[in-house]
Point group: C2
Chain length 426, copies 2
């Protein structure tokens, strides 16, 4: 094989045309081979942004339509692509996760973080319409997210918005994306524009990756009057709709499906279908207020799941030394009556206890049964229809601002960022 | 008012006819007034078993069609109604909960437990067709359920089936009904007939109570060839269908809806619509083997929810002294990499750790990402698509039978009662 022959082999990043065994022809960008692609499968990124796996007809060749312009993108820190000072600015604050596993088209290696360059390549229409700024404060798998990183992220988001970004897109691992969205919702109660967390359940180099479509939807949202922290992820298992969930109301409800995220006890805010953004419920609109980080996060708050067999002794160990406790109780917000004495002790020690439900859907109501009424008497704060994860993050935020029990209670009961729907029950 | 006048006032338990403000006429049994009924509302139990709340027309009187034959039922222990030795026997093992809050028609007081008498009154067609035996081992709100009570319950169920009951119906509070169903599934791996847990999200004296319809469906199931532990609860928010869920696969997914229970990662076994039982997926059929309690339950197993901010130090406190640990990790079964050292220590101390997902839907798979692979290297046992609650109960059951780490692992990975669907991933 001569150098020339080699040069004429199709390479990742080239625009190609290929025919499959059923005679169907596909045109798009050739993606690098990936362990998940399967042997004999060629992955093509279609103009829709959707990757498909094609098994070529035995006698067919891959036709190169256009050589890829794929310089290896070695940047891993902050980067800008400024094409025209008059275009709106989108800020990408990348944190890692599957969606940030972008593949270098030349080397086939997986980037741990996303640069402006990667991003523009994933969503080619961007460079003509936006100036893209990228910041990469850290690049982690999202199970390693911490409250300290949430504060760092909130500060960067505020900076970017105040520096003129029309919206901030945060690529993020899906494992803890719901928690991060809730944290940013409380830390940034006022926003001049949207903050959109976006993830991917399948990495970008796999057939059926959801990364590009979710990113495209996030870009579309920066052009609307939305000014909330939201999550944009596939709304169905098909590639038709991206659902936009309120940051305090979204939960990952499936380990692997692309439509894993669901709005719980709340309608979705919007759906993005192609270029259209359809708003479906109330949302906060852009205002001329600058973004500002409010409060911090008390890290020493525990989330305890209650279950038959959880004894007072074990519970007492689990909450030892905590500054605050969130319980995911059973049903309407119950724990074994044998634990109620421990709840009383926590109150005496100035440790607020918040009750949520492990049912996830519905609202806690501790006025219906005797156990609930006794839990209320022990001073436990009902979390209404708040998700356990959102209540955890909110209690961290509240306790960074007050250590007064009745003030903490009042803050927990007062809606801040759409985390409580429905009527106040206490 | 004379004694005679008083006697002619309609009383709870009487068969009445009433006209509402829209001119509609309702006929049925007058139910006692309840705090939830609302002022001016009369609750009538229709012949369908459904309770409706009627607001009478201002000028209308309640017409008494037949005096109630409602002797106060003061029994709270075991009781039998034997009408014909040739009829099949249904055994009711009542444990308490909303469904057992049957109202005494004469006094209006709420029974803490259900007697055979109450049961026959709730489902009148019973007495002609079945001999009903009732046992009330305890009467609790289900948040107070314990592993020791599960064993007691399993033993009674086995006794009843071996004494000739064609099926056992267990009225149970909904809070922990899923946990109990899983526990009975493991403790009773062989059954000659069905064990049906049945609950109610609205107490029997309220309009829209689901108690009677769920009970009726349970009765119907005793006439089939089913021989598994199942949960029978409303399948939709209407009163049309009762869904039958496998005991190891059912989870309470709403705090208050009547269709709160869902089969997770598994189809429902059957639907009961009117008198018809429609089987929709594979199930275990009656066999001539006697029921037998296998194993016990090690109570000292912990269920730990992982979240950002959970430090190694706190985790270590939470699991201190445990014989086994189940984690509800994020996504495909992850925890912060800072906890992996603690997982290794647990293995060194002979404490099995099982990984489930807080996503609830889907299956854990720790071979996809580096964190998962490191968790696997630390000896953690993947729970496949088992619910966190089912994994907790199964680990209690396994550790009552072995303290050998590799034997415990093998038992956790081997399906016993339909708790694992799909392919084994380890």
């Amino acid at each position: 094989m001569t150098d020339k022959d080699y040069a004429e082999e199709p390479q990742a990043g080239d625009r190609i045309r290929i025919t499959d065994r059923h005679g169907r022809t596909f045109e798009g960008i050739l993606m690098p081979h990936h362990a998940f692609s399967g042997s004999g499968i060629v992955v093509v990124k279609m103009d829709s942004g959707y990757n498909i796996g094609v098994r070529p007809a035995p006698d067919s060749e891959i036709e190169i339509l256009e050589r890829g312009n794929a310089a290896p993108s070695s940047q891993t820190g902050d980067s800008d692509i400024v094409t025209d000072g008059n275009l709106p600015i989108i800020s990408i604050v990348s944190t890692g996760g599957t969606i940030a596993s972008f593949v270098d088209y030349k080397t086939g290696a997986v980037h741990p973080a996303m640069t402006a360059d990667d991003f523009v390549r994933a969503v080619p229409e961007l460079s003509a319409r936006f100036n893209v700024r990228t910041r990469v404060p850290f690049s982690i798998l999202s199970e390693d997210m911490t409250p300290a990183r949430w504060i760092e992220l909130a500060e960067i988001v505020a900076e970017e918005l105040n520096a003129g970004a029309s919206g901030v897109i945060i690529p993020h691992g899906t494992d803890t994306m719901g928690y991060t969205a809730a944290a940013l919702s409380f830390l940034l109660p006022e926003l001049p524009g949207p903050v959109i967390l976006v993830g991917s359940q399948r990495s970008s180099d796999r057939p059926s990756s959801d990364a590009t479509m979710n990113l495209l939807a996030a870009v579309r949202l920066t052009r609307t009057d939305l000014a909330e922290v939201v999550i944009a992820m596939h709304g169905t298992i098909s590639d038709r709709i991206v659902a936009v969930h309120r940051g305090t109301k979204a939960r990952k409800m499936h380990t692997s499906r692309r439509d894993a995220f669901k709005s719980i006890n709340s309608p979705v805010i919007a759906e993005v279908e192609g270029k259209e953004v359809k708003f479906l419920s109330e949302y906060r609109k852009r205002a001329n207020t600058p973004a500002r980080v409010q409060g911090g996060l008390e890290e020493n708050v525990r989330l305890i799941y209650s279950y038959p067999g959880l004894t007072a002794d074990t519970f007492s160990k689990m909450v030892e030394g905590a500054r605050g406790v969130v319980i995911a109780g059973t049903g309407l917000g119950h724990v074994s009556s044998s634990l109620i004495g421990e709840l009383g002790k926590l109150r005496e020690n100035g440790v607020p206890v918040v009750m949520t439900s492990q049912c996830i859907n519905g609202t806690v109501n501790m006025n219906v049964y005797s156990t609930g009424r006794n839990i209320m008497k022990a001073g436990v704060i009902p979390a209404g229809d708040m998700l356990p994860e959102t209540a955890l993050v909110k209690l961290m935020w509240v306790l960074s601002q007050t250590s007064d029990m009745s003030e903490a209670r009042e803050m927990m009961l007062t809606p801040v960022a759409g985390e409580l729907s429905g009527r106040r029950v206490e």
